[in-house]
Amino acid sequence: MSDRGVAVVLDGVRRCYGDHEVLAGVDLAVRPGELVAIVGQSGQGKSVLLRQIVGLERPDAGRIVVGGLPLERYLALAADDKPFRIAMVFQGAALLASLTVADNVALRLREHGQMAPAEIADRVRRALDQVELSGAEQKLPGDLSGGMRKRAAIARALAIDPELILYDEPTADLDPLLTEQIGELIARIRSGRGSTQVIVTHNLALARSIADRVAVLDGGRIVECLPAAELAASHHPLTREFLRAAGLGGSP
């Protein structure tokens, strides 16, 4: 594994919507190059947490440090001055519907930096190769299946060569075969590029098979964070419940 990843530190991150406290003080440290899966029930704030890390929303309290930089300082930097790049793969892929797959993947490269068109085309080709979407360059997102859209979104993330990739439910709405393919793809990115990756998922089997560590989010806090290999030995009631529901053991 290369050492391209950056560390992510969440320290007492809180986020409220009106009276409802979604994140009630999240503490989590992700090491450079590590792949951490955050699991939890629906409505526990997993996606909200990712939106805080990528800077789409700001926490009401607490601190987020990425690559040694406080997030607010990182966000204030001009795109070309940022010392590392963060990419996010959204649950619904969030490809721009009016652009072709190739244009979606090339979008950030065209908008920023001084990269030559030929170099951009090469990056796009390589990113699409990695997600096995060669040949779909000129298709519009509306012409793609759910799995292809997810892979195109991952290609868009890979094209910018990010040090940190965040995935929001990358396998939601996908059949088991496609889920396995996406899982393998994420694992390949981990071993090939060494980018730090944080995945929010309901899919405990996927989390256990590809993540280094699994963090369990409940009641707005990380209640447990343990190596994926030790998941089955967890004594936390929610983790046991998840394991049981996923057919991976756990107490009834």
């Binding site: 800077g55 959204f90 721009l96 979008l107």
Partner: protein, 268 residues
């Protein structure tokens, strides 16, 4: 009353206040968006590909329906006015159509057309992008959604609408001439229709119409962008944003029309 405060229905005053606050908030958001978009104009103007795409969508794609509307409005103006003037003098038909089209009908009609046809699609498109995280995706890629989405639309709309206004004036006046030529109830020659029109319609009338066109063009893009970008809540939210964008574009076009007319008469 013993009901708890939380169960009380808000009174008329409270509801009126809430509506006024909401209108002021939307207006403020629209003005803020316009200011930010204006600050990005140099990027929008150099982003030729997106600008040309928007000009085609806003300008050239609107030409057929603009021609149809203007033609019939010009024709109706002549028929209605001729009937009112049948016992007086129909020689003023040319000036009536010319002044009405250049100063009012052309800009307002094209403003409404753009707000309805293009504004609704802008609100729906941006609303959909907001709901389905495409705007968020742009932000995560360090792409400013205002520069990427709003500025090209505002520039294209502000450039295309004055041209559409001139086009509508021309077609409307020709429509009126066609009726003058073929309607047996009108006792006026086409040459006299145009001769009297040129006596009355001044270049400044055309200029005011084009200024109105540019202003309405900005409204027809900024209002839908404002509603589109703040869309929440799935398909229902997109539909609500689209409706609100069209309605408020119409309202602002009429309000600004009044202000421009009043200002133009106040000038020396």
């Amino acid at each position: 009353m013993t009901a708890e405060a939380g169960t009380l229905r808000p009174g008329v005053t409270a509801r009126t206040g809430a509506v006024i606050l909401s209108i002021l908030q939307r207006t403020g958001e629209g003005v803020q968006l316009l200011v930010v978009a204006c600050g990005q104009v140099r990027f929008g103007a150099t982003d030729r590909e997106r600008l040309v795409a928007q000009l085609a969508r806003i300008g050239s794609d609107t030409l057929p329906i603009a021609a149809t509307l203007s033609l019939f409005v010009g024709m109706v103006l002549v028929v209605q006015s001729a009937d009112q003037l049948r016992n007086v003098s129909q020689t003023v038909l040319g000036p009536i159509v010319g002044i009405a089209m250049t100063k009012e009908m052309g800009p307002v009609m094209m403003g409404f057309l753009l707000a309805g046809r293009v504004g609704s699609s802008i609100a729906a498109e941006l609303g959909s992008m907001a709901v389905y995280d495409e705007i968020s995706a742009l932000r995560t890629m360090d792409i400013d959604p205002v520069r990427f989405l709003v500025t090209p639309r505002v520039i294209a709309s502000a450039v295309a609408l004055p041209i559409l206004v001139l086009y509508a004036d021309f077609i409307g006046i020709l429509g009126g001439a066609a009726v003058v030529a073929i309607d047996p109830a009108i006792h006026l020659s086409v040459s006299e229709y145009f001769a009297r029109m040129f006596e009355w319609v001044k270049l400044s009338d055309l200029f005011v119409g084009m200024v109105k066109g540019a202003v309405f063009g900005v409204v027809a893009a900024v209002v839908p962008c404002t509603f589109g970008l703040r869309t929440r809540g799935g398909a229902e939210g997109i539909a609500a944003s689209t409706t609100a964008a069209v309605v408020w574009s119409f309202v602002w076009i009429l309000v600004l029309d009044f202000l421009i007319v009043r200002l133009s008469f106040a000038l020396p």
